[in-house]
C-alpha cells in the first residue's frame, strides 16, 4: 500500500468501516466500537433525518398541488382573487420564514416556497393578461425577483431552484430574443455549461475555503456536475448522429464538451477526489461511446436489425463493464492515497 508520510489523524475520515477495521485488528474492544459508533451516528440522528425528509417531501407536494391548481386556469375564480390568493400565500411563507429565522431549515424551506409561489404568480399573471410577451420574460422576472432572497438564504436547495429557473430563462431567451442564426444555434450548449460550471466552481471554492458550510453537501456537487455534463455531452452526441449540416457553433460546443469532460475529470480525480462526480463523468462518456457505436452499427447493418441490436447489446455490456472496472480501480487507488 502506498503510504504518504504527511498523513495526520485529521486527514483520516472517521466512519463505520474504520471502526470495524480497528475492531477486527483488535485495536479496540467491542464496547469501544459501540461507543465510537454511537458517537459517529447518534441514535437520535435518524429522527432528524426523517423529519427533514418529511419536511422536504411535504413542502414539495403542497407546492405541486398549488402549481397544478392554478395551472387548471379556473374560469370561475375572478382574476384578482387568484392573484391575491397567491400573494396571500407568498406573504404567509415570508411571515413564517421571518418567524422561524433563516438559520433554521424550516425558515429556509418557507423562503424557498415563497420563491416558488413568485413563479406561480408570474405564470397566473401571464394566464390572465395575455400580451403575447415572450415566455423568457416570465422566467427572467422570476429569476430576478428571487435572486436577492437566494443570495441571503444560505440554502443549497434555494440556489438549485434559482439555477434551474435561470437555465430555463437562458434557453428561452436564446430562442426568443437573441434570435441566433442557424449556424450559431448550438452555442447555447456552451452557455449552459458556462452558467452551471460557474455555479460548480463557486461551490467548490467556497467549500474549500470553508466559507459556506451549508454548501458542503455531496448531492449539490453531484447535481451541479450532472447539470454541467448534460450540455457538454449533448453537442458531441448531435455531432455523431448528424453527419451532414454541422454548423461551426456545434463544432465549438463539441470541442468545449470534450475539454469540459477532461477538466471535470481532472478536478475530481486529482484535486477533490470524489467518486460520485467521477461516476457521473464515466456514465456521460459511456453514453457518448454508445452513441458512437450505435451510429456505426446503424450505418453498416441497416438491413439486418437482429445483428445490429445483438452487436449493440454486446457493445453495451463491454463499454459499461470497462467503465465499472475502471471506476473500481480508481476507488482502490484513491483510498490507498487517503488512508
Amino acid at each position: 500500500m502506498e503510504q504518504t508520510p504527511q498523513v495526520t489523524l485529521a486527514d483520516i475520515p472517521a466512519n463505520r468501516r474504520l471502526v470495524d477495521e480497528l475492531l477486527a485488528h483488535r485495536k479496540i474492544a467491542p464496547e469501544g466500537r459501540d461507543y465510537a459508533l454511537d458517537f459517529l451516528t447518534p441514535a437520535d440522528q435518524w429522527g432528524l433525518w426523517i423529519s427533514r425528509l418529511f419536511l422536504a417531501v411535504g413542502s414539495a407536494l403542497v407546492l405541486c398541488g398549488v402549481v397544478y391548481f392554478f395551472a387548471f386556469n379556473w374560469a370561475k375564480i375572478a382574476p384578482l382573487v387568484k392573484l391575491s390568493t397567491i400573494q396571500g400565500g407568498l406573504f404567509c411563507c415570508l411571515l413564517g420564514a421571518y418567524y422561524y429565522k433563516l438559520e433554521r431549515v424550516s425558515g429556509q424551506v418557507l423562503l424557498l416556497s415563497a420563491s416558488v409561489l413568485t413563479g406561480v404568480f408570474m405564470a397566473v399573471y401571464g394566464q390572465i393578461y395575455q400580451t403575447g410577451a415572450d415566455a423568457y420574460q416570465l422566467f427572467m422576472m422570476w429569476s430576478l425577483f428571487i435572486f436577492g432572497w437566494t443570495v441571503i438564504s444560505n440554502f443549497a436547495a434555494q440556489w438549485i431552484l434559482w439555477l434551474a429557473v435561470t437555465n430555463v430563462f437562458l434557453a428561452l431567451w436564446w430562442e426568443q430574443a437573441a434570435l441566433p442564426e442557424r449556424d450559431m444555434e448550438a452555442l447555447i450548449f456552451v452557455g449552459f455549461a458556462a452558467l452551471n460550471g460557474l455555479a460548480l466552481v463557486l461551490r467548490e471554492v467556497y467549500v474549500a475555503r470553508r466559507q459556506a458550510a451549508w454548501l458542503d453537501r455531496r448531492w449539490v456537487r453531484v447535481l451541479l456536475t450532472i447539470a454541467v455534463l448534460i450540455p457538454l455531452a449533448t453537442p458531441l452526441m448531435i455531432w455523431i448522429l448528424d453527419d451532414h449540416d454541422i454548423g461551426s457553433s456545434l463544432k465549438i460546443s463539441a470541442l468545449v464538451g470534450l475539454v469540459g469532460h477532461g477538466l471535470l475529470y481532472g478536478l475530481y480525480r486529482f484535486k477533490f477526489r470524489d467518486m460520485w462526480p467521477l461516476a457521473a463523468i464515466a456514465l456521460s462518456l459511456c453514453i457518448i461511446l454508445e452513441t458512437l457505436v450505435l451510429d456505426f452499427l446503424v450505418m453498416n447493418f441497416e438491413d439486418t436489425e437482429v445483428l445490429m441490436f445483438g452487436l449493440m447489446g454486446l457493445a453495451t455490456i463491454a463499454i459499461f463493464s470497462l467503465a465499472v472496472l475502471y471506476l473500481r480501480r480508481i476507488i482502490s487507488v484513491m483510498e490507498a492515497k487517503h488512508v
Partner: protein, 167 residues
C-alpha cells in the same frame, strides 16, 4: 439582519407584482376594444393549462405577404379599425408617428411566416369546446398602445363568456 433584508426584498417584490396588476387593469378598464379576425386552425402549457393556437386573418393579407421579405424577425405592424371595429392592415411600422385611429401590433417573423402575438389564448382545462367557433380575437389598447388579448368573440362580435351549469 438577513431576515430584514428578506423583508425589504419582499416589499419591493410585492410592489412590483402589484404594479404589474395595476398596469394591466388600467388597459382593461380604460382601453379601447378592437377585433382581430381569426383564420380557421390544442396543446397545453406546462404551468398554465390548456390553450388554443391562434392564426389571424391579417397574417395572410396580401399586402403583408408582399412586404414581409424586408421585415426583421421582430417588429410592429400598423392597423386601423374598419366600420365593424375589425382591424385592417395599413403598413409595417418603421418608427414613424401614427395617424389618428392607427394602432400597433407586434409580430414575429420566422422563415416565411408572420405571426402576430399573442398567438395563443389560454383558458380553463376542458373549455376548448366553448371557443371552437371563435371568429375574432378581442384586444384592448390603451393610449400608449399597450395591448392585451382579453378574450375571443363569435360571429356576433360579442366576447365569449363561458357559462357552465352549476354542479
Amino acid at each position: 439582519m438577513r431576515s430584514k433584508i428578506m423583508i425589504g426584498l419582499a416589499v419591493l417584490i410585492f410592489a412590483a407584482l402589484n404594479y404589474g396588476i395595476y398596469e394591466k387593469e388600467q388597459i382593461i378598464g380604460k382601453g379601447e376594444i378592437l377585433l382581430l379576425e381569426l383564420a380557421p386552425v390544442d396543446p397545453r402549457s406546462l404551468m398554465q393549462g390548456d390553450y388554443m393556437n391562434l392564426r389571424y386573418a391579417l397574417e395572410r393579407a396580401e399586402p403583408v405577404k408582399a412586404q414581409m421579405e424586408e421585415q426583421k424577425k421582430r417588429g410592429y405592424m400598423v392597423i386601423k379599425p374598419d366600420a365593424d371595429n375589425v382591424a385592417q392592415f395599413v403598413r409595417f411600422h418603421g418608427g414613424e408617428e401614427l395617424q389618428a385611429g392607427e394602432r400597433l401590433l407586434r409580430f414575429h417573423k420566422e422563415y416565411s411566416r408572420v405571426t402576430i402575438v399573442p398567438d395563443s389564448f389560454l383558458f380553463q382545462e376542458g373549455h376548448a369546446k366553448f371557443y371552437e367557433n371563435a371568429k375574432y380575437g378581442v384586444f384592448k389598447f390603451d393610449e400608449k398602445d399597450k395591448r392585451l388579448l382579453v378574450g375571443l368573440a363569435g360571429d356576433d362580435r360579442k366576447i365569449i363568456v363561458v357559462e357552465e351549469p352549476e354542479l
